[in-house]
Amino acid sequence: MKIILFIIQKEFKQIFRNKAMLPLLFVMPFMQLLILSNAASFEIKNIKIGFVNHDNSQTSYKLISKFQSVSIFSLSENFSTIKDAEASMEQGKVDVIVEIPNHLEKKLLNDNQTSLSVIINAIDGAAAGIENVYVTQVIKDFNQSIKSELVMTSFDSENKPYFNVIAIPSFWYNNTLNYKTYMVPGILVLLVTMLTLFLSGMNIVREKEIGTLEQINVTPIKKHQFIVGKLFPFWVIGLLVLTIGLLIAKIVFSIPILGNVFIIYGFAALYLMVILGIGLFISNFTETQQQSMFISWFFMVVFILMSGLFTPIESMPVWAQRITYINPIRYFVEFTRMVMLKGSDFYEVRIHFMIILAYAILVNFLAIWSYKKVN
């Protein structure tokens, strides 16, 4: 135990002495949290819409003004030909084009039915789907209104009551659908993970590269003493960054923390051991910091994109969903959402605890095993 304290003392000194590193550890993560949390949103607003009106009838103008009255559509523009409109889409100036055909009004009155075409820039498929929903909604409302208008004027006794099954939505835990509630804890998890993974991933390989590791290896120090002493400072830094991040979440973003704070820290403590163990494991298998960082980068990108934070895990193919079971970030993201936003108690997150505990034991066992004092 005494020997471990000497290592911890030395590591802390080295970390705090590197003046170039300090802002990277204690300023950059929070700047990113503050900035990026505002940017990470799928909410669609300001749809740029263009019209090509071949009809020029009363109804067509009404339809266009209906679109203009909906705030989600911004910047409507009228084109005289479909060619102009499409060129504008190519330049990215419009997202949606509504083409109103010749004789729309006439057909509507005579045949009761007509159609118009809607062209949507679908490069981002998900956004296009949502834009389509909004366009459809406006046209449906429009149908309803002209119906009542026309029905009122032309007496129609045959008109049966229209049966309707409707959905009444309610959004729990986040009733304003605020993206920050969702993103701030998630981005905080990512930042803490990156910081600790990169620090531990380059630490031992750095000593290998500058030659001090050999000096350590000729001392009678035990493997576990060395590793515990090396990782403890990063573990503390991880928890510290998490704490400041949670305060920012609470104070700046007013993110609710419904669950027990001790459960969050208990889980975070185990989680950081998993990440540090992975970093150490990578460090043991590489010769230079460059190699170690590239491998850490690889795992980090995979972990981030397959964590369920940015894209839903359920939508992945089954094999990919299985891969996410070995992704520690997945568990932490799920966990923070459950405990912070829904107020889940220990019993409800016990599976997460068991998995992360088993993971921590396994990874650190591997890390200590793969660290060789003798080759």
Binding site: K13, R17, I210, G211, V218, T219, V374
Partner: protein, 244 residues
């Protein structure tokens, strides 16, 4: 093993795949002796020394260092030896004092002992003004004298020095060897590799390694007589030529 034999090496071999870096070397080193371990670059010196200090496992053969087998008891070996390598091995971003505290600490010295040792070193090396400076700011010669002292902190019975004076000016080299002599006088065994042939003259006995084998082993005087030359440099050149 007789009481005063500190290192006993028999048929020590290390192979990496098809390549045999050390080919069954054998020798003894006595207590208090300054043993010079010479050889050209790539002759297998560093590989051999790594086996003796317990950070590389021998493929075949035995080596008993300070009474412990490096094959089975390498951690006990480490408790009894000091090591200083050609790659300078103190932390550049720590001060001298912090390096002493750290290395003393991991050898299990108490804070009290570390404090005493530090004071002692400050006096011996006249470090009053430098003790709280970062190692990176010191001249190379200073660093190496310090590294030697740090390797001696836990008072090991044997100290291994791998090219300790590489790249240092003659005066500092001279001072460095004075430190070595002083330690040897107190009964510490010194095992040193070097490629400065004038330094070989300072050793009690010298072994010369060529292509993984020990080709000659005797006192510098004895070697010069055997090969009928006037300097260790000539001994070395003659040996190298013979092999070719």
């Amino acid at each position: 093993m007789p009481q005063n034999t500190m290192i006993k090496v028999e048929n020590l071999t290390k192979t990496f795949g098809n390549f045999t870096a050390v080919k069954g070397i054998s020798f003894d080193v006595k207590k208090g002796e300054i043993f010079g371990f010479l050889g050209a670059n790539g002759a297998g010196k560093t590989t051999a020394i790594k086996m003796l200090i317990g950070i590389s496992k021998p493929t075949r053969g035995t080596a008993v260092v300070a009474g412990f087998d490096v094959q089975t008891d390498s951690e006990k070996v480490k408790r009894n030896i000091g090591y200083m390598s050609q790659k300078f091995s103190m932390y550049d971003d720590l001060t001298i004092r912090e390096n002493i505290v750290f290395f003393g600490g991991i050898y299990g010295l108490s804070r009290q002992e570390i404090k005493q040792k530090t004071e002692q070193l400050v006096q011996e090396l006249e470090l009053e003004n430098y003790i709280d400076q970062l190692v990176i700011s010191l001249p190379l010669g200073w660093k190496q004298k310090l590294a030697f002292s740090v390797a001696m902190l836990h008072e090991p019975q044997i100290v291994f020095l791998d090219e300790p004076t590489g790249g240092v000016d003659p005066i500092t080299r001279r001072q460095f060897w004075e430190m070595i002599y002083a330690k040897a006088h107190t009964g510490t065994t010194i095992f040193v590799t070097t490629h400065y042939m004038d330094e070989a003259e300072y050793c009690d006995r010298v072994s010369i390694m060529v292509d993984g084998s020990i080709e000659a082993l005797d006192s510098p005087k004895g070697l010069k007589e055997i090969y009928g030359v006037n300097s260790m440099n000539d001994v070395f050149l003659k040996l190298a030529r013979n092999i070719e």
